[in-house]
């Protein structure tokens, strides 16, 4: 038997199922990048598992020729946690949406993240319920006019990244569906991280919430509305890289023009390895239109991984007590013999 892995391509990861997303849905691009990323990871195809919940994004596993589990609404992190506990060597991906992960499944999301289960959670954020045809979601902005909020939403939205950081996430990143190269690199970074990798992808629902992220994806708007994070580098953005982010004495971010007495050294330098999550949180709170929205890896730190901890305890128990012996177990404690 050859020990060499077969060379896989994106095609090997395409299933035989007809894709049923709406034409021009942002999901197509994410699917395409995923199929390109997986062959680069050096993992045999049979070791990938895609787990999802309910919603448009959650149809994703059907379109991947890997092991896949299309779960129930919101519960994918719980299902995936057990897959990982059963077989820690699998590469387990959770595909979810803003409603699935943050509304009905909020509890499972925060607990998977705080346990630091070795999962890659990819949240497709389109700020709308698409599959149920256009109700506002937990990430819809205040005032959003939708089928269930004809006068505008009065629900304050939450930020997926802030939820993740507040749940003690060890890896947090953001990308955009149509930013092909960036999305690929973020997915690769997520796969490489041990522990829960949480990735928010801005995804265009061109039917019910079209253009929600044009500010961050259109060529003419993206440069002034986004800032791309690089570890150890200052936060610079703008069509001509003429602007930057500085942190004021009050620890608040502010947009500054470079030149006229302000140099790169005065800017905020990104540190994705910072022990405290306050920088990542500050970045996650920067929102359009007041700020350019950061893209890339916000945080990538090491912390004990849950599934590894469970496995270690089992191995330690076997080392300490010997492999389980039923005879010994049944005869432990007080026993007596009837002649």
């Amino acid at each position: 038997m050859s020990m060499e892995l077969p060379v896989l391509t994106a095609k090997d990861f395409a299933s035989d199922q007809e894709i049923r997303w709406c034409p021009r849905c942002g999901d197509y691009s994410i699917l395409a990048q995923m199929k390109k990323v997986l062959p680069t990871l050096g993992i045999p195809k049979e070791r990938f598992v895609f787990v999802s919940g309910i919603g448009c994004s959650s149809r994703f596993p059907y379109y991947m020729n890997t092991y896949g589990f299309h779960g129930i609404h919101g519960r994918a992190p719980a299902i995936a946690t057990a897959v990982k506990l059963a077989q820690p060597d699998l590469s387990v991906w959770v595909i979810t949406g803003d409603g699935d992960a943050l509304s009905i499944g909020g509890n499972h999301l925060i607990h998977a993240i705080r346990r630091n289960v070795d999962l890659n959670i990819i949240l497709f954020n389109n700020r709308i319920y698409g599959l149920t045809k256009g109700q506002y979601s937990p990430t819809s902005p205040l005032g959003a006019r939708t089928k269930s909020s004809p006068l505008g939403s009065v629900d304050n939205p939450l930020s997926p990244l802030c939820v993740a950081i507040g749940s003690e996430a060890t890896f947090v990143a953001r990308s955009v569906d149509v930013d092909i190269k960036h999305l690929m690199s973020v997915l690769q970074r997520a796969a490489a991280h041990k522990g829960t990798s949480f990735v928010e992808v801005y995804q265009d629902c061109n039917v019910f919430n079209s253009g929600a992220f044009y500010y961050a994806s259109k060529k003419d708007q993206k440069p002034q509305n986004t800032v791309y994070l690089e570890h150890g580098k200052p936060l610079i953005f703008g069509p001509n890289n003429e602007k930057g982010i500085r942190v004021s004495e009050m620890s608040r971010p502010e947009v500054v023009e470079l030149g006229s007495g302000i140099s790169e050294d005065d800017l905020l330098f990104h540190d994705e390895k910072a022990a405290e999550p306050s920088l990542a949180f500050l970045l996650a709170r920067m929102r359009y239109p007041d700020f350019p929205e950061p893209m890339g890896v916000f945080r990538d730190v090491d912390r004990p991984v849950y599934d590894q901890g469970v496995r270690d305890q089992v191995q330690q128990a076997i080392a300490d007590q010997g492999p389980g012996d039923l005879e010994k177990l049944f005869n432990s404690g007080d026993t007596w013999t009837v002649e």
Partner: protein, 624 residues
Amino acid sequence: MASTEVSPKTNGKSFESVETVVLRFCGDSGDGMQLAGTQFTNVSAAFGNDVSTLPDFPAEIRAPAGSLSGVSGFQLCFSSHDIYTPGDQVDTLVAMNPAALKTNIADLKRGGTLIINEDAFDKSNCGKAGYDVNPLDDSEALAGYRVHRVPMTRLTRDSVEGLGLSQREADRCKNFFALGLVYWLYDRDPTATREWVTSKFAQKPNVADANLKALQGGSNYGFSTESFTVHYAVSPAKLPPGRYRKITGNEAIAFGLATASKLAKKPLLYCGYPITPASDILHELSRLKNFDVRTFQAEDEIASMAAAVGAAFAGSLAVTASSGPGICLKGEALGLGCITELPMVVINVQRGGPSTGLPTKTEQSDLLQAMFGRNGECPLPVVAPATPGDCFVMIQEAFRIAVNFMTPVILLSDGYIANGAEPWKIPDLDELKPITIEHPTAIEGEPFHPYQRDQKLARPWAVPGTPGLEHRVGGLEKADVTGHVEYSPANHQHMTEVRAAKVNGVANFIPQQEVDGPESGKLLVVSWGGTYGSVCSAVRQCHRDGKSVAHAHLRYLNPFPSNLGDLLRNYERVLVPELNDGQLRLLLRSQFLVDAQGYNKVQGKPFLIGELINQIDSMLEDNS
């Protein structure tokens, strides 16, 4: 029945031999009654008596001291012959305070022995218990019982004097004083308890010492004072030969799960969320990690069920346990287990409902939930152990069905057998039925069909990590054979029928229903689950009295054993006693069109043998 002898060892007191004793300790939640009862059970079981226990404690960890709602009790029956219940009426009642006396005295036999901590009967405690007059000063109240007023608090303090304990610490030893006294009364050997105390309080030698002194003090009190003129011996029972231990239903489930994992050669993944009265299963299993048992304490009941589905998908023996309220929350994910046709076991340790209901009390009212409590047509096999020890057998049987038929299986235990203890004959490992699992591997040139069925209609269990078998499953309706998403009308009809036929096919896999008593006749009593002991005892008593009555105890509830319908029709009348409002009766009537009558009780307590005999008698009389 009782023989009397006088021996010098007994300080001139008479020594009587009795067959069966029902003993109950009761006191405040903080009085250590569960501990006293458990210790008495352990030494009696180890001595060779048959034992059966009924712990009965409040839902609150500590209700206000001295209050009626804070009374905690532990009843046990020990005998020189085989017994099946913790007993109807109490022979000896130990009451540590007025509230305990008030809530328990009605269960004490006329002429029974009542041991009272008289120090606790002050005005304040009597008031909290609702006694206007101190019952110890009321000549009427306790007439008809053999009352022993023992100043336990004071004597316990005296026993532990000089050990440097605070008064509060000293008072916490009084359960051992009471225990020592009843040990003397029933001639128990305290060695095992002494060893337990020494080991339990190894880090606090003065507390260990105090409890041992209190235990001895209680025993000395019985021996020395004139209050007790008789003490008793209960000989060992003639149980089948073998090695025994005491076991509760929850322990037996944990042992059975570890055994199933060994038999199936698969790691067990237990996914659970804390809930009374199921949590002990999680506690027991979390100590068995060297059996490659992995325990996942999930964030909620929904997650624990969803995780069980994920664990099954990834090839583990997946199990979750809960009680009624938790099972409600598991419903949706359990349906997912049904449609994805994955093997897993869901344990429901039933308690009184609806809603939070009676968290610490027993009931059998989740049978219809197990049968029908999910959306859509969602049939699942249901089994129910009969006794604490039977939990060991039935949990393995649940897994055997699950992996053979690729389906979730529900096991219905209840608070009574989960917490109740009995002697358990340690099984011979070579005699256990195997659990055989086969996972498919890829066949060159052949596509893999995840919903291709075998003769039992079970689909293959292809596990992630297996090359060439990559496939997708999920909650959407599947096309048979290919497993592709398929919504067509004919397919849904077909798949609904196949899922039902598969579960019905379990009837060919399980044993035929047996009957205790005549094969036909006037009356058949049909029971299920934890009421076995009471119903069996009642029917056997009727046999001894020459009555024509038989007993069928069901351990397989869905599907029923294939001979059940014919069997029911062999009797003129059918009686179905249940600790619910008639759930099995509803199923029997609808499935077999028999005019089954119910005897139903929902008081958080098991059936008394006496009330069942009365019911049987009235059915027989009615019939003649």
